[in-house]
């Protein structure tokens, strides 16, 4: 199988380039893209990429595989190959540090901006802050985000304004705290989101939903934020 990898070493290269490799796939097995990368790295140790858990929970190996963002460790080669070729590129839109490694700074900044922690200044109870099963269910589909950045780097609005538009991942997390019954800063959180950039650059393109490796739905969460904003302002 032909594998084409985006290569860039700022120490020696003037510009990035695509490097082609031939890889022998074992018979009768459908490897994951990460397995293929590891095989290639055994031959050419200079290929750099992030990876850790190899089971789709850490979010380290987010990359663009034949045009679609995803996690290399849980994407089978059969799914990622297009016309007999596997093309591996770093996540689009973020600055490239080396080969498939991107600078996640902008992504993290937007995440921190929405204050991703529980705000409740009431004195801590002797046991946990209690929550009914119905209230807890509201967090399903929100807390599972692994911050892999596949969604935000697939979003054109995020490409054009990564410093101003919070992005699908950040907004999903913003809603996770807006929806949490134990959080008391709902109004402040909503006020912080009310400008024309933070939330409203979402035009419902839905690339985020298309690529999320955990099956989450940022567009829906953003719609919920809009509803909350509308409810308190009309």
């Amino acid at each position: 199988m032909l594998v084409s990898i985006y290569r860039y070493n700022p120490e020696v290269d003037d510009a990035p380039y695509m490097q082609d490799y031939e890889v022998e796939l074992p018979e009768g097995k459908d490897l994951m893209v990460l397995d293929v990368l590891n095989l290639l790295k055994a031959k050419d140790p200079s290929i750099s990429y992030r990876r850790s858990c190899r089971e789709g929970v850490c979010g380290s190996d987010g990359m663009n595989m034949s045009g679609k963002n995803g996690l290399a460790c849980i994407t089978p080669v059969s799914e990622a190959v297009k016309k007999g070729k596997l093309v591996l590129r770093p996540l689009p839109g973020l600055p490239v540090v080396r080969d498939l490694v991107v600078d996640m700074g902008q992504f993290y900044k937007q995440y921190e901006k929405i204050r991703p922690f529980l705000i409740n200044d009431a004195p801590a109870p002797a046991i946990e802050r209690l929550q009914s099963p119905e209230e807890r269910e509201k967090l399903d589909g929100l807390y599972e985000c692994i911050l892999c950045a596949c969604c935000s780097t697939a979003c054109p609005s995020f490409w054009w304004n990564p410093d101003k538009f919070v992005g699908p991942s950040g907004l999903l997390q913003a809603y996770r705290f807006l929806a949490d019954s134990r959080d008391t800063a709902t109004q402040e959180r909503l006020s912080d989101l009310d400008d024309p950039f933070s939330v409203f650059r979402c035009h419902g393109i839905m690339n985020c939903v298309n690529v999320c490796p955990k099956g989450l739905n940022p567009t829906k969460a953003i719609g919920n934020i809009r509803t909350m904003l509308l409810q308190r302002a009309t």
């Binding site: 400008d195 950039f197 933070s198």
Partner: protein, 115 residues
């Protein structure tokens, strides 16, 4: 909170709402005009003129003109903040849009009320 001075309204939510409200107004007017033209195949100048003499039509048309102004200002603001990265060029583009919008509205009032 991202500060903004050239967007249309007082908040992102307001712009979002006005974009949709103006879209509804524009659709209604479009349907009306198309319907009117289809239902009046042998339209004469006098008939057309009489339609725009009616006060309700003038008000409706003015509402549509203002809606076009709002809708396009918000839309073009969106596009310019996405694609025109140089601040000077973007500010110039937005100012130009605002100016053109103003001209159309004043001219439109003139046309509608025969001033």
């Amino acid at each position: 909170m991202v500060t903004q001075i050239t967007s249309f309204g007082r908040s992102g939510l307001y712009d979002w709402m006005m974009q949709r409200v103006s879209a509804v107004v524009l659709s209604l007017y479009t349907v009306f005009i198309i319907g009117y033209l289809l239902l009046n195949p042998d339209l004469t100048y006098d008939q057309w003129s009489a339609l725009f003499e009616a006060t309700w039509m003038r008000i409706f048309s003015l509402m549509v003109l203002l809606s076009i102004g709002m809708h396009s200002w918000i839309g073009l603001w969106s596009i310019s903040t996405d694609y025109i990265k140089a601040t000077g060029a973007r500010f110039f583009f937005q100012s130009l849009c605002g100016l053109v919008m103003f001209v159309y509205i004043v001219w439109g009032v003139q046309v509608l009320w025969g001033l």
